[in-house]
Amino acid sequence: MSVYRTAAQLSQAIATLALVGSSFCETFTLAETSVEGVPITGLRIRAGDPEISRNGVLLLGGVHARELMNPEAIVDLAVDLLVSYVNGSDIIYSVYGSGAPGATWSASAIRVMLESLDVWMVPCSNPDGHDYVLTTDDLWRKNRRPEEGTCDDGTLPVGVDLNRNCAIVWGVIPVNGEITCDPCDYSTYCGPSVFSEPESRNIEHFLAENSIDTFADVHSYTELILYPWGHAPNQTTNPAENFTTLQTGTCGPIPGSSYSEYIDPLDLLRLQSVGAQMASDVVKVRGQVYTVGQSISLYPTTGTNPDYAYSRHIADPSAHKTYGWTIETGPPADTVADSFHPADPSQIILDAKAAMLSLLMQSVCAIDLIGIQPFGADVKTAGIRAWRDTLWQSDAGRAWLELYRQLHPALLGLVGARSEFRSRATQLVQTAAALADDPASTLGQDHIQLGLSVLDDLAAIAPERLRPQVQAARDLLQTMTGLNAEAALTVVTGQPPS
């Protein structure tokens, strides 16, 4: 069964999709051609009102040439999104006989998602390497940059690992790290200089020119969902111990055996919780368990795309913050080749699509959406974000945020499907924003009733296991009459939902 496309065929597929969905899709070309001069194209989906501000999501595939399933999965996901949006159909990823329930996203949730996000998809970011796998060496990983010199066996060194070439601790070799400065290395040569390769510079340019909030770099294999950092253990207590102090390009280890990299604790929680939801959605497809962990748990790395994406706002506070994950699709198979490009990748592609769609869904901020876009309201939600940050500080608060996260798909579905619900939700967000902005403002009985009605609608379609917690939210809300925002937050942070 022929299942893998050439780089040109992948490019042609997304060009065709852009034509078919021309009212809301377009192709784009990354800033630089590949080493061998091939244009690298992607698909942007921006449905609905083109003028509204949106969160941006980047899905990147094919960085490592031999990982052939992922370019296919990204093109496949684009098809599914277009089919759902145009036909108003749900997206269901399931495998008959697996015993798993299947992962489902309602048509209304997909519509809301596509009308509130910029979805950027680059299926094949390393076309030279991709085609080299098809024509010459099926386990090739790097790009096809000819390097200077001659290797010991008389061959000419070729290629740079595009996931070791970015400006994040570039050219440093952590202990047991999977990176080298040897151009004759078959797999993980970091390149002669930072961003030496046009294919990795494309990521640099793209992130600089577009506001990308969430980014998934899709690789294979091992069934992992990884978040920063790759070069050192995470720590959340000493912001001064961070990568901006490290010398790069040393081709040696990070000095000091106890070095740990700072990560903002709220960012860490978000990276972990979004990753956990991706894994939770993947397991529904056919029962495959994707493990969520810090990148270094696979092996230490430097210069990777997701770490670079997340590091930008730290290296330059004026840069947009991008949360980055690596998705490692597929289990180990009997052979290495089958692990990277099995003869039948269809079920692994379902898992991959579920993970990416889960990330897309979580990239929508429902509160922003209800308050601002595209339903005519104009609510400033900064005060509500400040509540969120307060909630993160306590165990009970984080439990409430976790409940909200789990209800998020149902909430988006209701917002997309029912104008009457949307109207009440908008009122609720307006009320919350007013409370957040005015310390003297208090919750009245009408506010409580409004909140209860929204919760009741959510409870009606929420997964059964969440209903006791929604009831707990109901019970707590009924105790809040007359409280201002600060007092209400004190109540919430003092009592978890279960």
Binding site: M1, S2, V3, Y4, R5, T6, Q9, Q12, A13, T16, L17, V20, G21, L68, V79, L82, V83, V86, N87, V133, L134, T135, T136, D137, D138, L139, R141, C151, D152, D153, G154, T155, P157, V158, I173, V175, N176, G177, E178, I179, T180, D182, C184, D185, Y186, S187, T188, Y221, T222, L298, Y299, E328, P332, T335, V336, A337, S339, H341, A343
Partner: protein, 100 residues
């Protein structure tokens, strides 16, 4: 050390672990194509000429497969007609066309 591995036209799939009697030098492992661990062991693709230095550095290398350097199985690659038929089918789904 040459690690490009193209001259031999074959790579070896292997697991590597320290020999108990030696203090191995992990720097010699740089340059191996490290795969996800196998049974908890370091799991790599390596060229034949990489084995001796790694063993000399204090490791035990267990080779269990020869992996020829070759193109992807042509049967797995779509030809242009198949790729076009695939996208035509998807376009029909997007447009809601009835399929026979």
């Amino acid at each position: 050390m040459n690690t490009q591995g193209n001259a031999a036209r074959v790579r070896l799939e292997a697991t590597i672990r320290p020999r108990p009697t030696r203090s191995p030098d992990p720097s010699l492992l740089h340059g191996l194509d490290v795969l996800p661990r196998l049974d908890g062991l370091l799991h790599v693709l390596m060229s034949p000429d990489q084995i001796a230095p790694v063993v000399a550095a204090g490791y035990e290398v267990r080779v269990f497969a020869a992996v020829p350097i070759r193109p992807l199985d042509p049967a797995l690659i779509m030809d242009d007609a198949t790729a076009q038929a695939w996208i035509d089918d998807k376009v029909a789904q997007i447009r809601g066309d009835r399929r026979p």
